[in-house]
Amino acid sequence: MRKAKGVKRLGAVLFGAFALVSTLVSCSASTTSESQSLTIYSGRSEELIAPFFEEFSKESGIKVDIRYGDSAALAAQLLEEGANSPADLFLSQDAGSLGAVSAANLLAKLSSDVLNKVESKYQSKNSDWVGVTGRTRVFVYSPERVTSLPKSIDELTQSQWRGKLGIAPTNSSFQAFISALFQSRGEAGAENWLNAIKANEPKIYEKNSQIVEAVDGGELDLGLVNHYYIWEVSSELGRPVKAKIDFFQPGDLGNLINVSGAGVMETSKNKAGAEKLISYLLSDATQQRFVSDTHEYSLVLPELKPEDLPALSEVKAPAVDLSTLADLQKTQALLVKVSLI
C-alpha cells in the first residue's frame, strides 16, 4: 500500500517531535525549583562573562539563569516587558542601553556600598546603574600606510583621508561617541562634523571588528573603534593583526571613555542577590581578570591597565557625562538626518 507511506513518514516525524520536546521540557522543568536564584539579562557575550557568573554562583550559592543577547536588543526587550519582566539584573555592553532602561524607570536604586566603589563619572546620575569595566574609543590604523597620525577627529575630514576611513555608524559605541560630540559642540557642530566626514566618503561597516579586519586586510587605512577589538580580531585570526591603535591628542572627543555596566531591575524579587553579583563584578579579583582576560580597563583599580596601553587616568578623555550618552534618540535622529543610517 503506497498510500500510507507519506502519512507514516509524517506520523513518525510528529511522534519524534513530541518525544523530543517532552523529554526536553521535563529536563528543563526539573532545574527551576531552587529558592535562591537570579535571572540575568546579559548583553556581554557568553564567552567572556560566563566563567565569572559560574564562579559567583559557586561562591554565593545563588543559582544564576543567564539570558544572553545583544545589549540593545535586550534593552528593547526589557522595555517591552515592562513590569512583567522576569529579569533581576541587566548587564550591558554600553551605557546607552542601561540609560534607555533607566529612563523608563525600570531600574532600582543601588546601595551606596556598590556606588561608592566606582567613580561617580562612571555611573548613572539616578544611582540606578553602575559601570563595571571601561573601554576607550581609539583609532586603528595601518602602520605601513599611515605615517602621520591624526591629532583630532577634525583632521579626519581632510581630503587626505578621502575613502580611506572606516566607521560603524549603526554600532552603539560609535553612537555614544556622536552623543558626546553632540553634547560638547551642540547639534549644529555635530552635524557639521558628520556632514564633513560623510563628504569624505568613509567606508561604512556594521561592527568594530570588521573595521579592524579591513585595516589588517589592507582595505582601509584608518578606522574609529573601541580599543579591545584589536585583541579580539587577532585572537580570531590566530595571529597578530597588521594594525595598531592610538589616541588622538589629549581631550579630543575621539578618546571618549565608555563603560559596560549593570543595573538591578525594579521588579526583581531578589534585589539583594542581584546587588551581591554587582559587588562580585566590582571586586578586586574580578576586576583584575577583566583587565588581563578581556583587555578592558578596571573602573575600581585605576592603576591597572591593559598591556601596551596607558592607564585609564592617563587617557586624556574628553569631559563627557555618561548619563547623557544614554539619550541616544537625538543622536540617532541626527545620524538619520545626515543619512549615515
Binding site: 517531535a17 523530543l20 536588543a73 522576569p86
Partner: protein, 509 residues
C-alpha cells in the same frame, strides 16, 4: 452533521492562525500611533526613506528574478536530465537554505575583504533563496501531466516550445509561490544586508531599535514594509491562474524517462556544480578551514544537546504550523474569502523582520507568565513566522489531487473527512512534507526572535553560532554551522525520496 462539525473545526483553526497573525500587526499599530507627528513626518518624508524604499524594491526585484531563473533552471535539469547520483544532487541543491545568511555572508567577506554593496547582497541572497524556487518547481514537475508533453512532442514541438507551451503553464503557479517566498525572504533578511551595508527597510528598522529604542519610529518603518509586502503578495495573486489542466487520474501512470543526452548532461552538471560550489561547498569549506586553522575545540556533548534542542523545538514549530496550515490549505481549495485573507495575512507576517516579531511576542507574551519564555511560545513564534512557507505547498499539493478520485470515494459512501485522510492527504503528502520541511529548516536557523523568546539558558544551533560570531570567533562557530547543515540534510533526503516511490509505485492501488 459530521460535515458541519468538520467545517467548524476548519474554520476555528483558520481563525486561530488569523488571530496569531494579527498579533504583530496590532503591536505595530499600537506602537506607531504613539509617536509624535513631527518625528513621524521627518522620518517618512526624508530623502533617505525614499532611498531605502528604492534599494529595498530593487534588491527584491533583482533577487527574485535571478533566483527564479536559477531555481527553475536547476529544477528542470534535475527533473529532466539523467544525472549520476541524481538523488544526492537534488538533496544537496536544497541545502544552502540551511546556512543562516549572516554566516553565509561572513564567509564570503572572509574570502573577499572588499565584498559589500548591492550586488554582493544580491549574490548572497540569490544563492540562499534559489532552493525555494527549486523546491517549488521540482514539486510541481513531479505532478506535471506528462501525457500532454508527449502529445506536444508528437505534434512536432521542440523541447523549448514544449516547455513554454505545455510544462510551464502547469508549474507556473508553484513557481510564482516560490518566487513570492524569495521576495518575502529578501524583504525580511537582516544578516546579509547589514553585513554588506545595503540599506533596506529591515536593516533600517533594526538599526532604529538598536540605536535609539525609538519603538514608534521603527514601527512606522515596519508598517511601510508591511505595505510593500502587501503589494508584492497581491501581484503574485494576480499572476496565479486557476489550475484546469492536470486534474485527471491518468497522469499518474505516465512518467517520462529522463533525457540522457550527453550534450545536456555535461552543461547540466556544470551548472549544478557551480551552484553547489558557491552556495554550499565554498562557505562550508571556509568555515571548516577557519576551524582547523585556529586552536578552537569542539565540545561534543554541548554540540549534541544543542542539536537535539534545535531539532525538537523546530519540529514542534513545524508541527504547530502544520496543524494550523492544513485547515487553511483545505479552505483555500474552495473560493473562501476568509481563507484568502488569512493566507495574505500570514504572508505579510512572514515578511516582517525577526526583531519585530520577537518584540511583538515579548510585548504580548510577557503578560502571560506561564507561557512567556517557554518552548511552546518559541515554537509558536516559529509557526507564525514561517507558516506562510507551507501554506503554498499544502494548497498546491491538495489542488493537484485528481477530483475524480475524491468523487469516486464519495460515490462509494465515504464521508468527506475520511476521503480527506484516505485520498487527498496521502496524495498531497509529498507537497505537505516539503512545506513542513521548509518551516523546519527556517526555524532551525532563526535568530532574533529565538534570542528573545527562548527559555532562559536554552540554546539552539543558531544562538550558539551567534554567541561566537558576535565576538568574531568564527572558527568556534564552525561546528554548529556544520551540524546545522548535516541535520538539514537528513529531512532533505527524506523529502526527495517520495517522488522516487511515486514513479515506481505510481499506480493507485
Amino acid at each position: 452533521m459530521k460535515r458541519s462539525r468538520l467545517s467548524f473545526l476548519l474554520l476555528a483553526a483558520v481563525l486561530i492562525s488569523l488571530a496569531f497573525a494579527a498579533i504583530p500587526i496590532i503591536y505595530l499599530f499600537t506602537r506607531a500611533v504613539s509617536s509624535e507627528q513631527t518625528t513621524l513626518s521627518n522620518l517618512i518624508f526624508r530623502g533617505k526613506t525614499l532611498e531605502i524604499f528604492l534599494t529595498t524594491i530593487s534588491l527584491t526585484a533583482a533577487v527574485v528574478t535571478l533566483a527564479t531563473i536559477l531555481g527553475v533552471g536547476l529544477g528542470w535539469i534535475l527533473y529532466n536530465v539523467r544525472l549520476p547520483k541524481s538523488n544526492l544532487l537534488r538533496a544537496l541543491t536544497v541545502l544552502p537554505i540551511a546556512i543562516p545568511s549572516y554566516v553565509f555572508t561572513y564567509t564570503w567577506i572572509a574570502v573577499f575583504p572588499g565584498f559589500s554593496g548591492f550586488w554582493a547582497a544580491t549574490f548572497v541572497l540569490v544563492l540562499s533563496t534559489t532552493p525555494y524556487v527549486l523546491l517549488a518547481s521540482l514539486a510541481s514537475l513531479w505532478r506535471v501531466d506528462w501525457s500532454q508533453y508527449e502529445v506536444a512532442r508528437t505534434l512536432g514541438l521542440n523541447s523549448w516550445q514544449t516547455f513554454f507551451k505545455v510544462t510551464f503553464p502547469q508549474i507556473r503557479n508553484s513557481i510564482a509561490a516560490g518566487a513570492l517566498l524569495v521576495a518575502l525572504y529578501t524583504l525580511s533578511d537582516f544578516g546579509a544586508v547589514s553585513l554588506l551595508g545595503v540599506d533596506t527597510f529591515t536593516r533600517a528598522i533594526s538599526n532604529i531599535y538598536r540605536g535609539s529604542f525609538d519603538r514608534s519610529a521603527a514601527a512606522v518603518l515596519a508598517l511601510i514594509l508591511v505595505l510593500i509586502s502587501l503589494i508584492i503578495i497581491s501581484s503574485e495573486n494576480r499572476t496565479r491562474m486557476s489550475i484546469k489542466l492536470p486534474r485527471s487520474a491518468n497522469r499518474l501512470n505516465t512518467v517520462t524517462e529522463p533525457m540522457s543526452k550527453k550534450s545536456l548532461t555535461i552543461p547540466a552538471l556544470l551548472l549544478i556544480a557551480s551552484y553547489l560550489a558557491l552556495g554550499l561547498f565554498i562557505p562550508m569549506g571556509i568555515l571548516i578551514n577557519r576551524f582547523f586553522s585556529s586552536a578552537a575545540s569542539i565540545n561534543i556533548s554541548n554540540l549534541f544537546i544543542t542539536g537535539l534542542s534545535t531539532v525538537s523545538v523546530a519540529l514542534l514549530g513545524a508541527l504547530i504550523a502544520l496543524c494550523l496550515g492544513l485547515p487553511l490549505g483545505i479552505l483555500l481549495q474552495q473560493d473562501s474569502k476568509l481563507a484568502k485573507f488569512s493566507e495574505r495575512s500570514l504572508l505579510v507576517v512572514h515578511a516582517l523582520p525577526g526583531i519585530v516579531m520577537g518584540l511583538a511576542l515579548v510585548s504580548f507574551g510577557s503578560k502571560v507568565s506561564w507561557l512567556y519564555q517557554t518552548l511552546l511560545l518559541l515554537a509558536f513564534s516559529y509557526a507564525l513566522l514561517f507558516m506562510a512557507k507551507s501554506v503554498g505547498s499544502i494548497r498546491t499539493g491538495l489542488a493537484r489531487v485528481p477530483k475524480n478520485l475524491t468523487e469516486v470515494s464519495s460515490t462509494l459512501g465515504v464521508n468527506r473527512a475520511q476521503t480527506f485522510w484516505r485520498v487527498d492527504f496521502p496524495l498531497a503528502a509529498p507537497s505537505i512534507l516539503s512545506g513542513v520541511l521548509l518551516i523546519f529548516l527556517s526555524a532551525m536557523k532563526e535568530l532574533p526572535a529565538t534570542l528573545m523568546l527562548r527559555p532562559t539558558g536554552f540554546e539552539t544551533l543558531a544562538t550558539q553560532m551567534w554567541r561566537y560570531t558576535s565576538i568574531s570567533q568564527f572558527s568556534e562557530a564552525a561546528p554548529y554551522a556544520l551540524l546545522l547543515v548535516v541535520i538539514a540534510a537528513i529531512p532533505t533526503f527524506l523529502i526527495n525520496r517520495p517522488d522516487k516511490n511515486t514513479s515506481n509505485e505510481g499506480e493507485i492501488s
